[in-house]
């Protein structure tokens, strides 16, 4: 379709006629517009004569693109009149002249560089301010709900417990077992060199209970549920459902945010517990396979290593991580504006930020615990 017409070009210069002129022919439509465009350019290079006469009688088809090209390049040429007359409807409909679009002026690159840094810094500060305002709103809602507990949205909380918790059990369990296998395997290879095989158990038990169990669970939940929070609320925001809630007099924080935050804070410790248990089971399996340590010996060793404090150190982090993940997810969701693109962008941002914050918080916990000598 886009091939060059075999019958000839779209523009032919009349050879040796009484007056110098050109003939237009073929189908002047969008499908051949690219070819016509180059032919016009060639033609305009070859002649400077603007008053050349044009014979458009050979044009077979004409659409808005063709008409626009003719009007633009041959609009005032002698001989074009009959065509414009015969297709009056089409030509009359074309806008008279192309109004120039004022392109936004681009500042110099050095200015752009510094203004970009400044803007980003201000954005970050604004974000920090906004997130604290958001957290403040959540807590004020929480307090007022405690004063009248019937305002807690229990069905909604239960739904989110099911979606973020129960449905996540298989993947969390699988991750827990894989993680402990990886740790045990690496530890066994190194420690066997020193004949200290038995310390593989110490290493895997400590790292699972203190760090890996809760961290892996939190990262998985951030990817699974934090993103879901952002996307769900974001789409509701985009479709003005959030505005609809407000006009009915319902507070979006109470209806949308609080149930998610509460559900996740309840759920993450439970998932962490599952990851811990499954991780220990994975550790026992690995010590049986790699080190030929039977189960009862593994249990003996694990019991001496794993103190209640150690378990508590892991578990205490879970609600904090859950709070971070749910606040970031819901906050980014509430920040969505009109476009589908912004839903995608803010969902990504919510996952990145919540995983980042989880690891930051974990580092902070490590420092605090080591200072406290736990």
């Amino acid at each position: 379709m886009r091939k060059r017409d075999t019958t000839g070009d779209f523009i032919t210069i009349t050879p040796g006629g009484p007056t110098k002129g050109i003939q237009l022919s073929g189908s002047w439509t969008i499908n051949s517009a690219a070819l016509i465009e180059t032919e016009i350019a060639d033609f305009q290079k070859s002649t400077k004569d603007s008053a050349i006469s044009v014979d458009p009688s050979g044009i077979r088809e004409l659409d808005t693109v063709g008409a626009w090209l003719i009007k633009k390049h041959f609009g005032h040429a002698p001989g074009i009149g009959p065509l414009i007359e015969s297709r009056k409807n089409l030509f009359d409909f074309l806008p008279g002249k192309m109004e120039a679009r004022t392109a936004p002026s681009k500042p110099s690159s050095i200015f752009h560089f510094f203004s970009h840094i400044g803007k980003t810094a201000i954005d970050r500060l604004n974000f920090l301010y906004a997130i604290f305002v958001f957290i403040g709103k959540i807590f004020s809602r929480l307090l007022s709900n405690f004063l009248s507990p019937r305002r807690f949205r229990f069905p909604s909380i239960v739904r989110h417990i099911y979606e973020t918790g129960i449905q996540a059990v298989p993947i969390i369990a699988l991750l827990g077992i894989l993680m402990s296998m990886v740790i045990s395997y690496q530890a066994a290879i190194q420690l066997q060199k020193f004949g200290a095989d038995i310390f593989t158990i110490d290493l895997s038990v400590i790292s699972i209970l203190r760090e890996m169990g809760v961290l892996i669970t939190a990262i998985m939940v951030a990817g699974r549920s934090g993103s879901a929070f952002a996307a769900e609320i974001g789409v509701m925001k985009m479709r003005e459902e959030v505005d609809a809630l407000k006009t009915i007099g319902m507070d979006p924080i109470e209806v949308l945010v609080l149930p998610r935050v509460i559900a996740l804070i309840l759920v993450l410790p439970m998932l962490t517990f599952i990851a811990d248990i499954v991780g220990l089971a994975g550790g026992s399996l690995m010590s049986l396979l790699l080190l030929d340590i039977p189960l009862h010996q593994y249990l003996d060793r694990a019991q001496t290593v794993a103190t209640p404090t150690m378990f508590a150190v892991g578990m205490i982090k879970a609600p904090v991580f859950a709070f971070l993940i749910s606040v970031i997810g819901t906050y980014q969701g509430m920040n969505v504006t009109g476009s589908a693109e912004s839903v995608g962008k803010l969902t990504t941002v919510s996952v990145v930020q919540s995983i980042f914050l989880v690891i930051m918080a974990d580092a902070a916990f490590s420092v605090i615990f080591s200072r406290a000598g736990i």
Partner: protein
């Protein structure tokens, strides 16, 4: 020259619910056909079937004499270039500016130079009555009427022969709606378009439609407004002789149909 769009014996069924039963419809060359029917009568399903977005249980859909169900993807693309669709709320791509929305089909399907595509897109925007200053806006900052116009400009980007409009004037103020109706009429004159317009707007129906296709009892009843008003069918009678219709008919200057 036969009909541009021809639907033959279309049957659509969802579960046990039959939406269309042996439905037939034709859209003639350079005709504006209004498709009306009660809410939930299956107008949108019919449009989606014609556009190939919904596979019917049985029946044929001929676009310019070609059965679209029998086509390969490549052949279907040639048919798709012959039509432009304006969805109910514009369905503009929210991540692209107005200009890019209109330029997208041209970038995808023509070899035109980028400069020319931009010029053409601006020109199409002017054709539907938008200022060039709107070109750099994003769809989320447009009013309903403007979004509808941008969507129309996008539908016209490849100079189609057939235009499908899904409730183009719904939610527009009377002035904007009348302006949109006039735009459709002058587009038909200028470009020789055939238009299938789904509408609940009786003004649109009376002002621009040559014929009316009424979706009632899973079938299409076709005719002019006059035929419809004279119809014996109770539902059609009520539709075209209701208080709203009488109010429009009283204004003789609008009686162009």
């Amino acid at each position: 020259m036969g009909a541009l769009v021809e639907v033959k014996n279309l049957i659509n069924r969802f579960g046990t619910q039959t939406v269309h039963e042996d439905l037939c419809l034709t859209l003639d060359d350079k005709e504006i056909l209004g498709l009306v029917g009660g809410s939930g009568s299956g107008k949108s399903v019919l449009l989606r079937s014609i556009l190939g977005l919904n596979t019917p249980k049985s029946g044929e859909i001929l676009i310019d004499g070609v059965n679209i169900q029998a086509l390969s993807v490549k052949e279907l693309l040639e048919v798709q270039k012959k039509w432009g669709v304006v969805f109910q709320n514009g369905a503009l791509f929210s991540g692209l500016t107005v200009l890019d929305n209109v330029a997208l089909p041209m970038r995808e399907y023509t070899d035109l130079s980028p400069g020319m595509i931009e010029e053409l897109a601006l020109y199409k925007l002017q054709m539907v009555g938008l200022e060039p200053s709107a070109a750099d806006k994003f769809p989320s900052s447009l009013s309903g009427g403007m979004a509808r116009r941008v969507s129309l400009a996008r539908a016209l980007a490849l100079d189609p022969k057939i235009l499908f409009l899904d409730e183009p004037t719904a939610g527009l103020d009377p002035i904007a709606a009348a302006a949109f109706d006039n735009l459709i009429l002058s587009l038909r004159e200028a470009l020789g378009l055939s238009v299938l317009v789904i509408t609940h707007d009786l003004d649109t129906l009376v002002t621009i439609c040559d014929r009316v296709a009424m979706l009632v009892d899973k079938h299409i009843v076709m005719g002019t407004i006059g035929d419809m008003m004279a119809s014996e069918h109770p539902w059609i009678h009520e539709y075209f002789n209701g208080p709203r219709m009488r109010a429009i008919s009283k204004n003789p200057h609008k009686e162009t149909a």
